[in-house]
């Protein structure tokens, strides 16, 4: 059996300090946001009510955080026990990813102090897909923390609690592999409602399926991405063999995604739009090119088993699929009436970079303080 250990070592490394500085800047920007309001910090408007705080931190960020979901799916549902060493690191990244996505929503909504109404059943609009996302993401954040909790409780020697958590783990794991399917597909459903505001290259009834599929292969690609970095950074030994198998799974799911996507474009008669070389067409082609290059790279065994190209392939897939999600939520979106434009302000960017910094800083702290990794 694998046994996770805390890595130990210095907490205040240069990376940690750098990240903490970024977090400090974010806190200042958020101070302005909460004291002076959204308009003082962000470029969001009535035309673009969703900026990068939603498009990046929630939509792309939560897909990046699907590593925990796909690993739980692989290990517990498909019963591939040998991948167990990858579960806890992926879970940790997912936990921060989702928690910060949830936090980002709180920055983004104008009257955050009304947010508690989401959880009062008598105030709920039961037909809202946004509600589904909000409740489901909240539930999933809680589940992720419970799933990770044994690492924390065992650190503080809370034997009884650890035992209870381990005994009930099956329930939370089961919930944990169900919830992302719900809200990741709902993230796609949300933009179906946008109707003609979304460019026809992306607008389709298939959006929920596309978002679910992209969450899956982005999760696997993220496991490869994180695994490559941490195994090198913390000298955990070579993990290429196990990671390349994750890459193989990503390739299968990504090929299905691309097939469905192309078939859907043909059905919707969007081929001419795809090659019209306007802004939409160019971003579409970029997105497809990135994903396909990554796909081809990881499909070839020679590249897949090379640590360098394995990493590059995973990054290309992540970039392509992030661009896909950015396109759906921001770039290919145009308000119906009026001349509106949006580019993230410095304040918005600082908050988004700060959230990434929180994630990295917390990750480095957690892997040193709690038992996350399995040493070879």
């Amino acid at each position: 059996m694998h046994k996770e250990v805390a890595l130990g070592g210095r907490i205040f490394t240069p990376v940690f300090v750098g990240m903490a500085t970024l977090v400090g800047l974010m806190v200042i920007a958020l101070g302005f946001r909460f004291i002076l309001g959204l308009g003082a910090v962000s470029n969001m408007s009535d035309g673009y009510p969703w900026g990068i705080w939603i498009a990046y931190d929630v939509v792309v960020g939560s897909a990046f955080a699907c590593g925990g979901y796909v690993m739980a799916l692989t290990v517990y549902v498909f019963n591939k026990g040998k991948y167990h060493p990858l579960v806890r690191p992926a879970l940790l990244a997912s936990m921060f990813g989702y928690t910060l996505a949830g936090a980002s929503v709180m920055f983004d909504i104008g009257r955050y102090f009304h947010a508690y109404n989401l959880f009062l059943p008598w105030k709920i609009n039961y037909t809202s897909v946004m509600l589904e996302v909000a409740l489901c993401v909240t539930a999933y954040i809680i589940v992720l923390w419970i799933e990770f909790a044994p690492a924390i409780t065992s650190k503080f020697k809370l034997e009884k609690l650890t035992k209870i958590l381990e005994k009930t783990a099956f329930f939370f794991i089961a919930v944990g592999v169900t919830l992302p399917m719900m809200h990741q597909s709902s993230l796609g459903t949300m933009m179906i409602i946008a109707g003609e505001k979304l460019h026809p290259l992306w607008q389709t009834q298939m959006l929920p399926l596309f978002f679910l599929f992209s969450a899956l292969f982005m999760g696997f690609a993220m496991v490869v991405f994180e695994g490559s970095i941490v195994s090198k950074a913390y000298k955990l030994g070579d993990e290429t063999t196990i990671l390349s198998k994750m890459a193989k799974t990503a390739v299968i799911i990504l090929s299905i995604f691309i097939l469905l996507r192309v078939q859907n474009l043909l059905l919707n008669k969007q081929v001419a739009n795809a090659f019209s070389f306007d802004t939409a067409s160019i971003t579409f082609l970029m997105e497809m090119l990135l994903m396909c290059t990554g796909l081809v790279m990881l499909a070839i065994k020679k590249f897949r088993t090379s640590p360098r190209y394995l990493f590059v392939g995973a990054v290309l897939i992540l970039l392509g699929s992030s661009l896909y999600r950015f396109n759906v939520y921001l770039i290919a979106y145009a308000p119906m009436i009026g001349d509106w434009s949006y580019f993230p302000s410095i304040g918005e960017q600082i908050v988004s970079y700060g959230l990434i910094a929180v994630e990295i800083a917390a990750y480095t702290f957690f892997v040193k303080y709690f038992a996350v990794f399995t040493k070879h």
Binding site: K232, S244, K245, K301, I337, D339, S341, F343, Q349, Y353
Partner: protein, 388 residues
Amino acid sequence: MIFTKKNTKVGDCMDLTGFDNIEDSLPLVERRDFLKFCATITATLALPDTATAEIAQGITNPERLPVIWLSGAECTGCTMALFRTTHPTIEGMIFDLISLDYHAALQNPSGYAAKGHMYDIVEKYAGKFLLVVEGAVPLKDGGIYCRSGGQNFVDTLKKVGSKAAGVIAVGSCAAWGGMPASNMNPTGCVGVKDVLKDTRVIEIPGCPPNPYNLLSTIIHYLTFNKFPAVDHKNRPLFICDRLIHDHCERRPHFDNGRFVREFGDEAHRQGHCLYHIGCKGPVTYGNCPTMQFGDAGAGCWPVAIGHPCFGCNEEGVGFEVPQFEVCDIIHATSPAYHPPVVPNHKKSIGAGEAALMAGVAGAALGAGALFVSSLKSEPIEDNEDEKA
């Protein structure tokens, strides 16, 4: 069937024996369609539905009302509009409900055969026939600018009008002079009321008027032997009791300050208020928004199709005030300035914003490249194919 021969109580239902009188002359009209027609007329007049029975009996009366239709300085648009009515076959109905004894544009005979018949009717039914006048009356130079049958129109009108039981001036021209009387008025055109000063002239203005307004007025006369209630300009109240503005389907846009500024702009495409491109709805009385026009269904009157009302129902407005001049508001004044319908929110990308993003992207790319170069590029020939 609600209407049966057994039940003859007028008010609840009707005795349909009257229909037999006209059935032969209306081979294509079924009893049911006929009753629907009567109900439509009743509704247009805003009468209680019990009046349907009375109207049906008035219509089926074998003694048909003689009607003489005189045409002055006009374009025949009113006649054309009348004969575009459809439910149920109005052109057939109108000849059989009334006895249209003279209509220059529709009759077959000409010359003395026509004029002679007209004067026969005028003599025979003196004080009993209905006169409908379409078109203005030129008075300049003794009225020589509109002649027919060797007689100036003004003289014909005086001769016939003095013996009519009732006079209906149909269209803006007959009402006050309309288009021929517009600024300059080279032929000195006036309305019928200025010629037949001793007779009460019912006016149904409009260019052209809604044919159902005329039809309803005539049938009201047929049924009750009197004209419907009128306003101070002798226009039937069922037509002109409210401003077009008050019932306009675009009124909410007016109230919310959403105005079209020019034809084809975004507000125009969105169907916003036409006030600022000269709509005269706020100063014109009429039932256009509720009646619509021409049986083409909803959304088929000038304002609905996107053109401002030009006030053809209102003397001193239609053909007087320039078409695109903004009129005053009778009931409430709207502010002169409103926020634009399509505000420009375009912001150029700030140099700092772009630089920050480019910097971060560049740093990430650099760090990535550095990291990639530190990774081994040779394949790890491990145990990928090993079965777990």
